[in-house]
Amino acid sequence: MSEGMYAEEPAIEAYGLGMRYRRGWALRDCSFRLPAGRICGLVGPNGAGKTTLLSIAAHVLQPTHGSISLFGGAPGSVESGRRTAFLAQEKPLFRRFTVAETLRLGRELNPGWDQRAAEGIIRAGNVPFDAKIGTLSGGQRTRVAIALAFGKRPDLLMLDEPMSDLDPVVRHEIMGTLLAEAAERGTTVLMSTHVLAELENVCDYLVVVSGGGVRLAGDVDELMSVHTLVTGAKEGDGMPPALGCHTLVESRTSGRQFTALIRPEGPVTGPWDTNAPNMEELLLAYLRSPDAPPLITPTAQVHGQGFGTGAVAA
């Protein structure tokens, strides 16, 4: 993406963000920075706090710890309310409204409404404009909800599991629309999912939350380049000692083979095959080993990370 233009301004900055309920932490000590103009995948197992994080950013929930700023403003401020769009997981819509009325809702309540973009998304799915929302299929309803989020012309679009009830063809088509629109306007997209295949070729930024905290955050290319997938013959129990000088993310053995994802601290030498991991391998390794040391690349770090010091102006 157009990195030089947007890399300076952060779309999101979270400082020690936490959400604690009576039954425990839903999100804990979450600090990261998302530069503007990126398509960011928010990845994590079920219950990792993805929805909580997005809900806090969308001013649906109040965090119990820490703070988050959107383009330098607090969630719920007029400015961030206008510049961000949020599509909740359950994709709520008024069931008795027609599709046209739902788009009118967007037009009436948003000053920068783009009727053409919204209608384009509806028409691409052949959803009739005079149909009541309650009569639509799940996929059609998702399409209307996405059109509503898109028509707002946000600078930051936050989508919580947006594609979960779309078939692969529609998923591909909507994702294409989303990427084209985002690229055209430099929209920052933060999209949660646990379908890892959805992210390949879509995201150029990643934030992995697991166990309530950030495990991995940063530019996709950078993250890929600092990891190496090592495959070789198993020698005794555990890992070969020669790999001990590298940061181990995850290792697995199958039969007489072992596979390890490492962050090399120097040249990897030994009788092993080394490959660059693909995104799915990288994410799976981190998701399977919650104890692996977290990695937050410099572009994803916030100043004074880990301390809730309030919003910092962009």
Partner: protein, 351 residues
């Protein structure tokens, strides 16, 4: 809040839009020329239009019925010669007009309960339950504005419908207002259906329902609890109704058995209590000498107790208006408290 625009934005289907213009604003159809709701007002009206139109339509029908009934009543009274001739002698002929009053006043008295349960409870609980509160919160306008618009439109519809019904019902009742046989002014049938009382009772019931819905976040539960709340409100209101007035006490000193011994109360006065008064000013129950067999024995008994006359406590009908406004202002103040709570709560947990 209720901004009207002449916006020509068409909501027709995609087939009429032209791709070049993009926003479909190009054409102005004749139907668009009338003023249209816009912004948040449009959304809230659109969402609750079925309820709002039902309330307004029911109001119009009721008003038409009352106007017709009043015409019938006035025709009868003119033909009968009222007020020159007492209605007590009319007997069965007046019964149908009497029944019409009790029928309509019963209907008016259940309005606070009906609107509390079917308008108040689901007003925001429905959005919290279906997640549409999140949808609205995700748009550019503040949720305080959303809450304010919802409450304002509800107030508007309630005040218009109950205000008009109250005024028209009072107008119907006015010719026979002093006839306690038609409606006793201290009864709920008259007191709760005229003046500011229907408006105040309905507003408090509905806003109580809204608050219950906001706290419980479930429409059906909120409706059930609101039903209980509104019924209890009616009971409490009925219990304290007479306390709203200043009780007037009248005493006599012409004995208690004579022809003109009882004090004369103004017409339509509501008698609360009566007892005998003694020479020293003490009150004694009027049953004190009822066991005496003969009038002479009774007189002896009364003389022995030093009973000199009656003491009667009553509320004059002239107080009705003041009592209604006093009670209504208490309800309005409570409603304002509920509104303050809603805005306070809405800033934190309205999604």
């Amino acid at each position: 809040m209720s901004t009207f625009t002449r916006s020509s934005t068409s909501t027709s289907t995609g087939s009429t839009s032209d791709g070049k213009n993009g926003t479909m604003n190009a054409t102005t159809t004749p139907a668009d020329r009338r003023p249209r709701l816009s912004g948040m007002t449009w959304l809230v009206w659109r969402q609750h239009r079925a309820a709002f139109w039902t309330i307004l339509a029911a109001t119009v029908l009721s008003v038409a019925w009352i106007v017709y009934q009043r015409g019938q009543l006035v025709d009868f009274l003119d033909g009968y010669g009222y007020p020159g001739k007492s209605l007590d002698e009319a007997g069965g002929k007046f019964q149908q007009y009497n029944d019409a009053f009790s029928f309509v006043s019963t209907g008016l008295q259940v309005i606070p309960i009906l609107l509390g349960v079917f308008l108040g409870a689901p007003l925001i609980a429905g959005d919290l339950e279906n997640g549409t509160a999140k949808l609205v919160a995700a748009q550019s306008m503040s949720r305080t504005r959303w809450l304010a618009t919802k409450l304002a439109l509800a107030v508007l519809v309630i005040v218009v419908s109950t205000g008009v019904l109250s005024a028209v019902f009072g107008w119907w009742w006015n010719p026979v207002k002093s006839e306690a046989t038609v409606m006793d002014w201290t009864s709920g049938a008259a007191f709760n259906t005229t003046g500011p009382v229907p408006v105040a009772l309905t507003l408090f019931s509905v806003f109580g329902g809204v608050a219950i819905g906001v706290v419980l976040r479930r429409t059906l539960t909120a409706m059930v609890v609101t039903f209980g709340f509104t019924v209890v409100l009616q009971l409490v209101w009925g219990y304290f109704l007479l306390s709203l007035g200043n009780v007037v006490t009248v005493t006599t000193n012409k004995g208690v058995t004579g022809e003109n011994a009882s004090p004369s109360l103004p017409q339509g006065a509501y008698q609360i209590d009566q007892s005998y008064v003694t020479g020293s000013g003490d009150l004694v129950g009027w049953g004190i000498c009822s066991e005496s067999q003969t009038d002479a024995a009774r007189q002896v008994c009364l003389d022995k107790a030093d009973v000199v006359g009656w003491s009667v406590k009553y509320l004059p009908m002239s107080q009705m208006n003041a009592m209604q406004w006093f009670g209504a202002s208490i309800l309005f103040a409570l409603t304002a408290g509920v509104v303050a709570f809603l805005f306070f709560w809405g800033r934190k947990r309205l999604v």
